[in-house]
């Protein structure tokens, strides 16, 4: 006779093992990068320009370049994404046009990032004649993270209970005032979370900036938004594959800085969400 407890035990072990398997690669990546990269981290590495064909010196221009790109992407994507999310969640009615819009957003998030790169090259670099520049790169990254921002913002707006909207309307408050004073304030933590996750993604992507902004080697800080810039992910790619004899320490140090930047943003998003859940009472 089969022992039900044994079957349960086996099932439980399998489930646990599968879950553990998720943690292992994440842990390994973080550990390997910290171990190999940490010795490279010092003040000079973080604040100096790359020297000797990127074989020594620091990665300061790449850090700054990435920060500029992320800031540019958010300046562009947050207002558009948020306004679109408000329209979709508060104003749009169910019809063919809106179904097409929703479908477009879903598809936009499924487009491979290198395709965004090509699109950015064609539209911003060539057609609008921005050249390879921070502006073109930021806009490309902005379009890439739009779906993330729209989707998370919409979810945040829709999670505000309808009863809040109803009461506000019943008090002789207009719809727009209701959105501004009741819906938006209660959705802000969710919107912030989505925005930061989008930022993290923008900071880490290589392909969209490949053709639109990234400089192979530019040992100075960009002067304007029409300037090219170095960026961490692309710099990592360059020193790992394009430049011979780069010290492993420098490569892993660069990876560690990039990883720390992205993980830090995700951590902030998690903290905001946690704080909000604790306070929320409806």
């Amino acid at each position: 006779m089969r022992n039900p407890y044994r079957t349960q035990k086996i099932a439980f072990s399998l489930l646990f093992l599968a879950t553990l398997l998720i943690v292992v690669p994440v842990g390994l990546i973080v550990i390997v990068i910290i171990f190999k990269g940490f010795p490279a981290i010092n003040w000079q590495f973080l604040s100096d320009i790359p020297r000797q064909g990127m074989r020594s010196g620091g990665i300061f221009p790449a850090i700054i370049g990435t920060l500029y790109l992320v800031a540019g992407a958010i300046i562009f994507a947050l207002p558009i994404g948020l306004l679109a999310a408000i329209y979709l969640s508060e104003y749009s009615k169910e019809n063919v046009l809106n179904r097409i819009i929703r479908l477009a957003i879903i598809n936009l998030s499924g487009v491979p990032s290198v395709v965004y790169g090509l699109f950015g090259l064609a539209l911003f670099v060539v057609f609008f004649k921005f050249g390879a520049s921070i502006l073109a790169g930021s806009l490309t990254l902005g379009i890439m993270i739009l779906p993330v921002i729209i989707t998370t913002s919409r979810e945040a707006l829709e999670s505000v209970p309808d009863s809040f909207r109803e009461v506000s309307l019943s008090l002789g408050v207009s719809k727009w005032q209701t959105i501004r004073h009741i819906v938006l304030p209660n959705a802000i933590p969710g919107i912030l979370t989505g925005t930061i996750l989008g930022l993290g993604r923008a900071a880490g992507e290589t392909a969209p900036i490949l053709f639109t902004v990234a400089a192979f080697y530019l040992p100075r800080l960009p002067k304007s938004i029409f300037d090219q810039a170095m960026a961490l992910p692309y710099h990592l790619y360059v020193i790992s594959t394009q430049v011979p004899n780069v010290d492993e320490k420098i490569r892993y140090g660069t990876a560690l800085v990039l990883l720390a930047l992205v993980l830090f943003m995700n951590l902030v998003a998690i903290i905001i969400r946690y704080q909000f859940r604790r306070r929320k009472k409806w």
């Binding site: 169910e94 009863s163 109803e166 009461v167 019943s170 008090l171 005032q177 004073h181 009472k281």
Partner: protein
């Protein structure tokens, strides 16, 4: 007596479903009208038609008129937001905002552009007093509204509705989620409020309708079957079906 609200051959549809059929009734100033009837009879739909809260429902449309002081609230040029300010509403489930007690009551005033702090404070106190809640919350106005009990929250919602100085108060089963003590408080409150407002209250509770309303309207299947002075509806209803419902033979 003066007519405050008048419904004139009012029909209401959700898409193809006719939810209200040919409703005509007069509601007088400073009276409490109780609306009774089995679930799905159109009570709430009628209530929400009076302050045009049904506007937000997709596929809703109406025929006929509802007038307040002779003015058609479905007039094309009318300011819907202004109508809702004149006709306040209290919902079945107490639904305070995630704000402080004070800010809940002050919300309608602040949004409508009133800046004068002392006026707002005065108005908040007055509204809380009118809602019989002031003594219980006066020392903790800055505390979250969610810290209040269910009955207190519902009275807070009434205070919030009163703060914008409506002329009519619509109440959709305001006590259905409350315990008997809290219910009694709300009923006493309604009795107090009718000196200033016209009140229309939907209730599932026959005794409650008999206790608090001056007039009772009996709705069934979207039709207004009986509408008269409460004592008459409860003792000598003109229709057999009203009597059956009131005595609990169905519904």
């Amino acid at each position: 007596m003066d007519i405050k609200i008048r419904a004139d051959k009012f029909n209401f549809f959700y898409n193809e479903t006719m939810a209200l059929k040919n409703i005509s009734m007069n509601i007088f100033k400073n009276t409490v009208v109780g609306i009774i009837g089995p679930s799905g009879c159109g009570k709430s739909t009628f209530l929400r038609s009076i302050n045009r809260m049904n506007d937000v429902i997709f596929g809703a449309r109406h025929e006929g008129d509802i007038l307040i002081d002779g003015e058609n609230i479905y007039d094309k040029d009318i300011d819907v937001v202004g109508i809702r300010r004149r006709i306040g509403m209290v919902f079945q489930k107490s639904n305070p905002f995630p704000k402080s007690i004070f800010d809940n009551v002050a919300y309608g005033l602040k949004i409508n552009g009133i800046k004068d702090r002392s006026y707002i404070a005065q108005k908040v106190e007055k509204s809380l007093q009118d809602a019989a809640l002031w003594n219980e919350v006066k020392d903790r106005l800055s505390k979250s509204a969610f810290d209040l009990s269910g009955g207190q929250q519902q009275r807070l919602c009434i205070a919030r509705a009163l703060a914008v100085e409506p002329e009519v108060l619509l109440m959709d089963e305001p006590a259905s989620a409350l315990d008997p003590t809290a219910t009694l408080k709300i009923e006493e409150l309604i009795h107090e409020l009718k000196s200033k407002y016209s009140i229309i209250i939907v209730t599932h509770n026959m005794q409650q309708a008999a206790r608090i309303s001056d007039y009772t309207a009996f709705f069934m299947m979207g039709e207004l079957l009986e509408y008269d002075i409460t004592s008459k509806v409860f003792t000598k209803p003109s229709k057999k079906i009203t009597e059956d419902y009131i005595t609990g033979r169905f519904g």
